[in-house]
Structure formats: C-alpha cells, structure tokens
C-alpha cells in the first residue's frame, strides 16, 4: 500500500507543481541576492580602499545568510514562509478527499485493511509535505552557492542576522552555522509535513476540495494572528520556523518548538486515524 501511495505521490501533478514553484522561489531569491552581492562587493572594495582597513571589520557575505532561509530582508523569504502550507499540501494533501469523493476509497477498503491504508496515507502525506516544504530551502542554498562563499565568520559583526546569545541555538550559529542551517531545514520540513496532514483531517468535514487545499494555510495564518493578538507570538509557527525571525526567538526555546510539533502531530494523527477508522465520512 505504501509503495502504491508513494508512486501516486511522485507521479502526481501536485509534486511537479511544487518543484516548479520551489524553483521559481529559489531563482527569484537568487536573482535579488545576486544584486545584493554585487552591491556588497562594491561597498567592501570602497571600505578597504578608503583607509586600508575598516575598523569595524570588512566581511564578505556568507552563504549561510544569502539563501532563502538565511536572510529575512527579501520578499522571497517572506513569501516562502507565508505560502509554506500551500506548498506542503500540494503533492498529496487532497488525495484522501478525492479518493473518497470518487468512490476509489471503497475499492481500496475492499482490498486492504482500513488502518493500513490510513497509516500509509498519513505517512506519505507527511513525508511529501515535508519534502515540498523543504525544497525551495535547499534549491536556494544550492543556487546561491554559485555566487556566495561558504565563509566561517565567528562573530556578530560579520552577520546581518542579529542572532544574539539569548536566542535558541545561537552558540551553534557562531561555531557551526551549517548545523544551524540544517536544523532549521529539518524544522521547516517537520512543520511542512504536519501542516500537510491537517488537510487529511479536514477531508472528513469538507465538501469542497478547495477548502481541503487551503485549510493548512488558513490554520497557519489564524494561529499567527491569534498568537500575536494574545501576546503569544513566540508560538506562531510562521514566526519560529523562519531561522531569521529574530524578535520572536528571544522567547521561544527548542524544546518548546518540538513540543508544538509533537502536539500537532499527535492531534492530526489521532483525528485522522480515529475518524478514518470509525467512519468513511462524518458529514
């Protein structure tokens, strides 16, 4: 069952669309960043020429701050993290709804155990959502490697980000920035996967595919607004998965981030397996 679902996911139009969208995001950010790099190099030359050495230090740009997940000043970073749930749900998030609506589900249930199918559906949706969410991140990193060096800069003056000691993983950022970048890639993928599974849960109550498709995005935005309104901005997924969303990071900790992920994952798993097992359609 799992192999069948994986095959459906990989050959589906959703995955192809995600690849194209991720490529557009990565290349758009690459284009903007290439202009920033040229400007930065020009400013560096001027600063060095003016008096031979720049007192505060003249530092090149580093790849860890040049790609879509490493900076927070381009439109593409904001767009990427804003539409993340849409990217995550595209490959496989609506297939449970379409399977049910088309009657295909009855055929499946006649051939395999319900629980096996539901578990396979959940796992593949989660994994496809994770891959879709993390695609633009890695594509952008690879693209920017063509123009920005991987420079190790062990102090704050060198960076744009303003990551300070009080923020989670700050020590790692200054000693092993590749580990920091990798951890946030995994966090982005984790929440991408979880958001994709939200669509599965909504499938039981939705009558329209668009509602299923947009439900993770609506939840994502609603959570952000609610969190900001009640002064709990640190728990907004939109804010803490962005590696450079600095202000919020003064309050959130890594265990809290993973606790949020665990709670959401358990909720979606229990709802999907529970509701899916007990009945085919709630409404």
């Amino acid at each position: 069952m799992m192999i069948n679902e994986i095959r459906r996911c990989l050959h589906g139009r959703g995955m192809k669309l995600v690849v194209i969208l991720s490529l557009c995001l990565a290349l758009g950010q690459f284009y903007v960043q290439s202009r920033m790099v040229r400007l930065h190099d020009k400013e560096m030359k001027i600063a060095v020429q003016e008096d031979g050495s720049y007192m505060a230090g003249v530092y090149p740009m580093t790849l860890y701050e040049a790609f879509i997940g490493g900076e927070n000043y381009t439109f593409f970073n904001q767009l990427y993290y804003y539409i993340l749930p849409l990217l995550a749900v595209l490959p496989f998030g609506v297939t449970f709804f379409t399977d049910e609506s088309s009657g295909y589900l009855k055929y499946i249930y006649s051939r395999v155990k319900k629980l096996h199918y539901l578990a396979a559906k959940y796992v593949v949706t989660f994994v496809s959502g994770a891959i879709a969410a993390g695609m633009a991140y890695i594509m952008s990193f690879a693209a920017n490697a063509l123009i920005v060096p991987v420079v190790y800069l062990p102090n704050q003056m060198a960076y744009q980000s303003g990551i300070i000691d009080a923020m989670p993983l700050s020590e790692i950022w200054y000693t092993k920035p590749w580990v920091y970048t990798l951890i946030y890639w995994l966090i982005t993928m984790l929440f991408g996967g979880i958001l994709a599974t939200v669509a599965l849960c909504v499938s039981f109550i939705a009558k329209n595919m668009l509602l299923v498709l947009f439900s993770p995005f609506l939840l994502y935005v609603a959570l952000d607004y609610a969190a900001m309104e009640f002064d709990l901005g640190r728990y907004s997924i939109y804010r803490f998965i962005n590696p450079k969303m600095d202000i919020v990071k003064l309050e959130i900790t890594m265990p809290e981030i993973f606790a949020c992920a665990a709670v959401l994952m358990i909720c979606t798993l229990v709802i999907f397996l529970g509701a899916g097992y007990k009945r085919e359609r709630i409404l």
Binding site: V32, R35, M36, L39, S53, Y54, M55, A56, G57, V58, Y59, P60, A145, L146, I147, V148, P149, V150, V151, Y152, L153, P154, N155, Q156, M157, A158, I163, I164, D165, A166, M167, S170, E171, W173, Y174, L250
Partner: protein
C-alpha cells in the same frame, strides 16, 4: 528504438555529469576568491604585536553596576533614569537590565615610526560565545579616561585606557547571566581575515557595598512624585484643539508654527542646510526611491512602492515646529515626542511620509555609534521641528495650506478615528491648523 533510448539515456547522464562538474568548479572558484581566514585566541598577559601596535591587558574586572558607578562617579549621569531613553518610553524596568559592567585596562604602544590612530569605541569589541558588544557609550569612555574617544599615538608613544562594556541581561541566554565568570570573554583586536582575540583569563568580580547600592537605587528610580512642578499627563482618547498643550512625563508640547513648501525646501526660512543630505533623493539597490529633494533642495515627485511609479499629485514638505517645556526639575529625554501628521478625515495614509529631519533649539543632542539622544534640562524651554513629505491628493481635494491638520502622539494603534467629527479613537491628537 531501444538503441535510441540507450543513447538518449547516456546523453542525459553525460549532460548531468557535465552540469554537476561545472557547478562544483564554480563553487570552488567562488570560495577560493575569498581566500582563507584564520582565527587565533591569545592569552592576555604576554605582550603582542599586530600591525606595529603592542597591546597588553593590565586589569580585568567584572563590576556590579552599583560598584562601577561608585568607583567612577563621572559615569553616573549616563546610567540614571531621569533624562534617559528609558524615561522617554516609561521603561522603568529596562534601565535595570544592565546589572554588570566588564572593564578592561588596556595598554597600547606604537612600535612604528609613524603616528597611528586608534578608536577603542569602534575597534575593540567584546565577545563571549554568541554574545558580542561594543563599548558602552563613548561619553562614558571619555569621562572615565579623561581622553577623547579617538586617540592619535605618536611614534614610540604608549597609552593606557579603561574599556567598559555594558552586559545587558536580556542579551544573554537564560541562566548564564548569573554565572558570568564561567563564560570565556575575549576582545577582538585584529579583524578579518586574520582575526585575533585576546582572551580575558584573569577576570575578577567586584561586588557593591550597601552605600553603592543605595546610590544606584536613587539613580535608577523613576519616582517623580516629589517634584511639584510636574504636570499631569494628557490621557488617551483626547483631541486637543488649536493652541492646546500635550503633556507627557512632565514635558509640555504645543504647536509653534507650520510651513508648507511646495517647490524648494529653502523657501522655509528655518531650514537647516546640514540636514539636506539626510533627505536627498536616492535610488536604492532594489530599484526603489527614498528621500524628497534633489541637491538644490527642489522637492521631487513622491515614489509609490505600491504602484511602483512616481505620484502625479503635487508634492510638498510640511515643516512643523513645536514648543517644548520641561516642567520638572529633572532632565528629560524628549525622544518620545515623535508625532505623525494627519489630514482630511484623519487617516495617516501613504501620502504622508515622515522625513529624517529634526532640528532643535535648546535641546542637548548627543550622537553615539548606535543612537542619538535628545535631552532637555529641568525647567528649560526649547523647540523641535519635524518635516513631513506629502502629496496633495486631488481625489480627496486635499489642500495642505488651508485644510485642518493634526499631529498624533500615539505609539500604539488608535483604532477607528474621525478627527473632523471630533473622534480621536484611542489616540492623542493635537490640532495644529
């Protein structure tokens, strides 16, 4: 067909390998261009030489702030609540976040045969793991050392000075601020690409006695109640009429004058030529435009980031001068007086932009590397002028010279507002025309 498919597959594989090879070559080339950087951590007691300067650390102390202010009374005025930026924003807790100050006595000798200039306030930054900090206020450096912030050393000369670093607990990871001596502090003395740090291996803690703590408490106290001259603050949801007065924390603000310049900012008699560079039209790297005037002071069409075009409406610069009076006996920081301009139905639309133009009379302006402070002495009177870049939107029939204008003293959301109908929402507005 099978043969074609096989060949096609090989072509694809070859193309992918070539692309991968080209990609790796480019990545290697980009990284080689910047060369290798090095980082060296050096002990603090031995004499070191970089670029002709011999640097050594004489003394390293971590002071409790009360102990520091007790030892260096000249620095007290920079750590008191009255007149500080904390008072400007009613942040009584914020001023107490600096509980410790790290001080290092550094000796620098010029081994070359030419004069060398050093700037401790810019050059010698403190680092500890992910924590980094420049020197505290350069004025503290000058007061404590009784020398200027930038020093010129003649050939063979040496100088000793005390470097002071504020350690704000909000910048440190939870739990580590209580155990600062366990952290490894170092000072950067040579920059990229050959970075060299001196490690502070002999840091000692200096605690404060009771008298020092008592003095410190007086300095950071926000209690103004003993000052009978202080007037009551203007409450929120207030619409002040023409000639009205806004009061906040003892500072009284009223409108002195307004001038609308349509063609050139020099039409305004009080225009400060030194502020012209701050409001010059510039094109940014992202293809946007900032600034309001050209080099002659002619007012340029306003750029709209929304429509990505210059506005057709008539541009203008409105200069608003406010009278200031400090009704208390203590010095006041006036930085929270930062009003926005409102017109017609009380909406601060994209048609108004506050320019980085501020001129003052009888206000002490002090610029540091990271900030500028504006302070008024007790019972002093002064003026402050702001400039707003506006367009007269024909769709709404706006006329800046004759329409009612208001300024808004809020720092938070005002909710629904209709100033013409007398509804200030949750804000504090003052009519100025």
């Amino acid at each position: 067909m099978d043969g074609f498919k096989k060949r096609y597959r090989w072509i694809v594989i070859l193309a992918v390998l070539l692309l991968a090879g080209a990609y790796m070559a480019r990545v290697i080339q980009v990284n080689q261009k910047y060369g290798k950087s090095s980082t060296e951590y050096l002990p603090d007691r031995a004499f070191k030489t970089w670029d002709g300067l011999e640097i050594s650390m004489e003394e390293e102390k971590l002071y409790n702030i009360a102990a520091f202010l007790d030892k260096y009374p000249a620095a007290q005025r920079y750590y008191q609540y009255a007149g500080s930026i904390y008072e400007a924003y009613n942040d009584e807790e914020g001023i107490r976040d600096i509980e410790n100050i790290l001080c290092v006595e550094m000796k620098v000798r010029n081994l070359t045969e030419e004069s060398r200039v050093i700037d401790p306030s810019n050059q010698y930054r403190l680092y500890s793991g992910a924590y980094g900090s420049g020197l505290t206020d350069y004025r503290v450096f000058e007061e404590v050392n009784q020398i200027g912030a930038a020093l010129e050393l003649r050939a063979g000369a040496e100088v000793s000075f005390l470097l002071c670093y504020d350690l704000n607990k909000k910048s440190f990871r939870k739990g580590s601020y209580e155990d600062l001596l366990e952290r490894k502090f170092s000072i950067l003395v040579h920059n990229f690409p050959d970075m060299q740090y001196i490690t502070l291996e002999h840091l000692e803690y200096v605690a404060a006695d009771e008298d020092a703590v008592s003095l410190y408490e007086q300095l950071v106290s926000a209690d103004d109640s003993a000052d009978p001259a202080v007037r009551e603050d203007t409450q929120r949801a207030t619409l002040l009429p023409l000639g009205g007065e806004y009061v906040t924390g003892g500072l009284c603000v009223s409108c002195d004058s307004i001038f609308v310049a349509y063609d050139n900012v020099h039409d305004y008699e009080g225009f400060d030529e030194s502020m012209l560079p701050a409001i010059l039209r510039e094109e940014t790297a992202a293809g946007q435009y900032s600034g309001a005037v050209d080099e002659e002071g002619n007012i340029m069409p306003m750029w709209s980031a929304v429509s990505q075009a210059f506005s057709d409406y008539k541009p203008s610069v409105v200069f608003v001068t406010l009278n200031l009076y400090n009704s208390s006996s203590r010095k006041k920081n006036i930085q929270k007086i930062y009003p926005y301009l409102y017109f017609y139905i009380g909406k601060n639309l994209n048609d108004v932009e506050m320019l980085p133009y501020t001129t003052c009379e009888n206000v002490e302006i002090t610029k540091t590397i990271s900030s500028t402070s504006y302070e008024m002495e007790g019972y002093a009177r002064g003026k402050i002028t702001f400039a707003y870049y506006c367009v007269e939107n024909d769709d709404y029939g706006v006329n800046l010279q004759s329409d009612p204008l208001w300024i808004d003293f809020n720092d938070t959301s005002v909710g629904k507002v209709n100033l013409k109908k007398g509804n200030p929402g949750k804000g504090i507005f003052m009519r100025i025309q």
